[in-house]
């Protein structure tokens, strides 16, 4: 167990280091001068003195490798640096934006789970029509591009019906369309994998014996097969949360919500390297933590995994 935890931690640290390194060099491959980003963005007509001073102040006149090592050193002490454009500590900025994005992602994940479970439980092991219909709904949902789906939702539920605002102003009503935009495509993915396991489970002998005991269809699903349906869903949820964070870039922009996605988009445009690095590291961290958590959750939901671990 201890060895396992150690390996997990080492893996996590390695992933974070790799992400920081890739981001650091990738953002320097795209054109754009960070000194200009600091001095009012691209095309700024900053004077040579101003540029020189900024390069000195931010260490941009140092060789790339020195800058890279300096960044690693800062990261090791937990210092994410200061935003070039906003002149505020990155940690403070991300702290302020993290809540909104996490709320959006977690709500979307929850709604996606409910939709996916409902759809797969409803459409599995029933008439041929239900199965085919369920498959089609899943496929269509999973294929929905966020930007298009959001536009349709706004046209229908904001412009035509006036039920929900197109601009999320922090009210619960404002969260509905963004959450639906993210949840429906994700539900499509989740339902696909859930239904496969469910179908598998429905053909297991324990279902036959449960039926023989007189369990109804609902009882079998809720008491017996739901765990099987949930398993792949759980292991997918780690991936899903990361996927939702990237979906947040689109959704936060369309619905004008403050959050990490919009911060990232703006930072890339402005070549605000500290923010880009910070957001990417944060998303990587969420991935890593979620992978560890879903791993643990799978063990809870599936006793077979626990037994294997104990045997090891």
């Amino acid at each position: 167990m201890l060895r396992r935890t150690g390996l997990l931690l080492a893996g996590a640290v390695f992933v974070m280091w790799a992400v920081a390194t890739l981001t650091f060099f990738a953002i320097r491959l795209i054109p754009g001068d960070p000194a200009q980003a600091i001095l009012g963005g691209p095309g700024s007509q900053a004077s040579q003195e101003a540029l020189d001073q900024v390069r000195r102040d931010y260490g941009l006149d140092q060789p790339l490798i020195v800058q890279y090592l300096a960044m690693l050193g800062r990261l090791l002490t937990g210092d994410l640096g200061t935003s070039y454009a906003l002149k505020v500590p990155v940690a403070e900025l991300l702290g302020a934006q993290l809540g909104g994005t996490l709320l959006l992602a977690v709500l979307s994940l929850a709604v996606a789970w409910v939709l996916a479970l409902a759809l797969s439980l409803w459409s599995t092991g029933r008439s041929r029509i239900a199965t085919v219909l369920g498959e089609w709904i899943e496929l269509a949902a999973a294929a929905l591009p966020h930007f298009w789906f959001a536009a349709v939702l706004i046209a229908v539920f904001s412009t035509a019906l006036g039920w929900f605002p197109p601009v999320a102003t922090g009210t619960p009503a404002g969260l509905v369309l963004p959450v639906v935009t993210l949840a429906v495509p994700l539900a499509g993915f989740l339902a696909q994998v859930m239904r496969e396991s469910l179908l598998d489970a429905m053909q297991q002998p324990f279902v036959v014996s449960a039926r023989a005991r007189g369990e109804g269809a609902l009882g079998i699903r809720l008491r017996h097969t739901i765990r099987h349906a949930a398993l792949p869903g759980i292991s997918l949820s780690g991936w899903a949360l990361g996927w939702l964070l990237s979906g947040a870039v689109v959704v936060e922009t369309i619905f004008a919500m403050p959050g990490l996605g919009r911060t990232l988009l703006q930072a890339v445009t402005l070549r605000d390297i500290p923010i880009v690095t910070g957001v990417v590291l944060l998303i990587a961290l969420v991935y890593v933590v979620m992978t560890i958590l879903t791993d643990a959750a799978s063990r809870l939901a599936d006793p077979r995994l626990r037994r294997q671990a104990a045997a090891r």
Partner: protein, 551 residues
């Protein structure tokens, strides 16, 4: 469990009915009749949804871009303003006088004006502002350029400030009317950059109350307001109690929010939505083209093939943009034939230079030696293809403009030009320009007054700034143009100035260095409830000082 099944199907059925109903409703939405004028009603909060990027600092002295100007117009004021005819009018300065040699300007300030932190407006505060703008630590770019010829400011008396210039500057008043050189409270400036960026203090009709990043800025009414510009419709405090300034980057969401009544004003509407709003009784369109240069395609005369004037003219005669502008902008943009915006009273137009003439284009190219054609029909000369690299900034060119550029590409192809459009983000776009990797380019430039011609077409502007940026993208180096622009910038005689600028524009247009398209589009859509809003005729930012909400 058939009951559940039925319930589920019923639910899906209802949902699909709701969807169909909604789509039908969307098609035939009824609109409210427009509220009539009537007397201004005080009170209420106006919600503004901006599609311009969120400023990183609300102090327009720092950097100095349009999003900053949009917001600063609500809480900061300049020494002078400009009225609809282009005349400079009093604002914080009630009068001004220039010395005979043009090297000293004395501004007399309005009496009894205080900043919203209680600091009185005096000559010393003007001096502090100019020093703030000229201090490299402020990192000013636009304001710094506007004050390029201002050496110092001397305090003559409490209310009189003397601007001492290094060379005469006929554009000084126009420069000072811009929001990037607005006058801020010296006490506010003394708080330091971080605090001043968060909430600059001015003399304006509103005060920055709160800035929630990526969400909104709340502006509240300045109840002690006394200093409207000379062309304002009323005196005393604003009617509106507050303005909620929201950042809504997606244009479809902005328009939906306006239609749904969630916001009262939006900026940067797309041409199709402007056309739709024009047809609606409940929305009003505020068309406020930006001053300075028109939107135009510059031909890079600094390198092959446009170093040959015949090839430049051939390109201009080959492309056809009128139909494209009409169709893609839904009649909201008028074709321009001038290097200057139509709001500039000294703009000079000559449509005859831009009439498409494919035969002439082909003849000119033949004459210039581009006689061979490759398999694609692109002309060649000594093995070189007639390729025109066209970097397009997706931040600056709206989708309609990008489509227009595709039409430019298609029409130029017939004459044998191979236009290669490259869609780039702003940093990469500036990068391509700095590396001279372009033959044609469209670069907007906003500045009050015809002095923008000096920035765009004087040979000095070919020399890159330290950042690599240079404004003379046509790389026009004509001593005759240079001296006309220099004389125009230095003369104090308005009639001579007008003549010199006209002659300069004649030369610039006649040399086929640019293809004017239309004014720099700048539109606002207002809900019918919003009355009395207008754009300030300096850089065309909206002001809500005279505005009120009819209900």
């Amino acid at each position: 469990m058939p009951a559940a099944l039925t319930a589920a199907t019923r639910r899906f059925g209802l949902l699909s009915i709701a969807l169909v109903g909604a789509i039908v409703l969307a098609g035939c939405q009824s609109t409210q009749p427009e509220a009539s004028g009537g007397d201004p009603v005080p009170g209420g909060t106006l919600t503004y949804a901006s599609g311009d990027g969120e400023p990183t600092c609300l102090d327009p002295h720092v950097g100095g871009n349009y999003p900053q100007a949009l917001l600063a117009g609500q809480f900061l004021e300049s020494l002078v303003s400009r009225d609809e005819t282009g005349e400079i009018i009093p604002w914080l300065a009630e009068s001004w006088e220039v010395a005979g040699d043009g090297l000293a300007w004395e501004f007399t300030l309005r009496e009894g004006v205080t900043f919203t932190d209680g600091t009185p407006l005096d000559a010393e505060s003007v001096k502090v502002n100019v020093e703030h703008l000229k201090n490299p630590d402020t990192q000013s770019s636009t304001g710094y350029l506007a004050l390029g010829k201002v050496e110092t400011v001397e305090v003559v008396s409490d209310r009189v400030a003397r601007f001492v210039l290094s060379t005469p500057d006929s554009a000084l008043l126009e420069s000072l009317s811009q929001p990037w050189v607005a006058i801020e409270s010296p006490t506010g400036i003394a708080r330091g950059m971080e605090e001043n960026c968060q909430a600059p203090v001015g003399t304006g009709p509103f005060i920055v109350d709160e800035w929630v990043k990526q969400d909104h800025v709340t502006l509240v009414r300045n109840d002690d307001y006394t200093s409207p510009p000379a062309d304002a419709a009323h005196e005393g405090p604003a009617y509106l109690e507050a303005i909620e300034w929201r950042f809504v980057p997606d244009s479809a969401s902005r328009y939906a929010a306006l239609q749904g009544g969630q916001v009262d004003v939006i900026d940067n509407p797309q041409p199709d939505t402007i056309a739709a709003a024009e047809g609606s009784d409940s929305l009003a369109w505020l068309d406020a083209p930006r001053p300075g240069a028109s939107n135009r395609i510059e031909l890079n005369g600094g390198q092959v093939p446009f170093d040959d004037e015949r090839v430049r003219e051939a390109f201009i005669r080959a492309v056809e943009v009128d139909d494209g502008i009409e169709a893609l902008f839904f009649g909201t943009a008028e074709r321009s034939f001038s290097p200057l915006s139509s709001v500039e009273s000294l703009a000079y137009s000559d449509g005859s230079l831009f009439e498409p003439d494919p035969d002439r284009a082909n003849a000119l190219l033949d004459e210039a030696g581009w006689t061979e054609r490759d398999a694609d029909g692109t002309r060649m000369k000594d093995g070189t293809r007639l390729t025109l690299r066209f970097p397009v900034s997706t931040n600056q060119s709206i989708p309609a403009e990008q489509s227009l550029f595709e039409q430019v590409q298609a029409t130029a192809k017939a004459a044998g030009f191979d236009v290669v459009i490259e869609l780039l983000d702003l940093s990469s776009w500036y990068g391509a320009l700095a590396a001279h990797e372009y033959e044609i380019v469209s670069a907007p430039y906003t500045k009050v007054g015809p002095d923008v011609l000096r920035i765009l077409y004087h040979s000095d502007s070919i020399a890159p700034a330290p950042s690599g940026y240079f404004a003379n993208l046509a790389q026009l180096a004509d001593p005759a143009v240079d001296s006309l622009l220099e004389e125009a910038a230095a003369t104090s005689d308005a009639a001579i100035r007008a003549e010199l600028y006209e002659e300069a524009q004649r030369l610039i247009l006649g040399g086929h260095h640019l293809l004017p398209l239309y004014d720099q589009q700048n539109s606002f859509l207002l809900s019918g409830d919003v009355q009395g809003a207008r754009a300030i005729p300096t850089v065309s930012t909206p002001t809500f000082y005279d505005a009120w909400l009819a209900d």
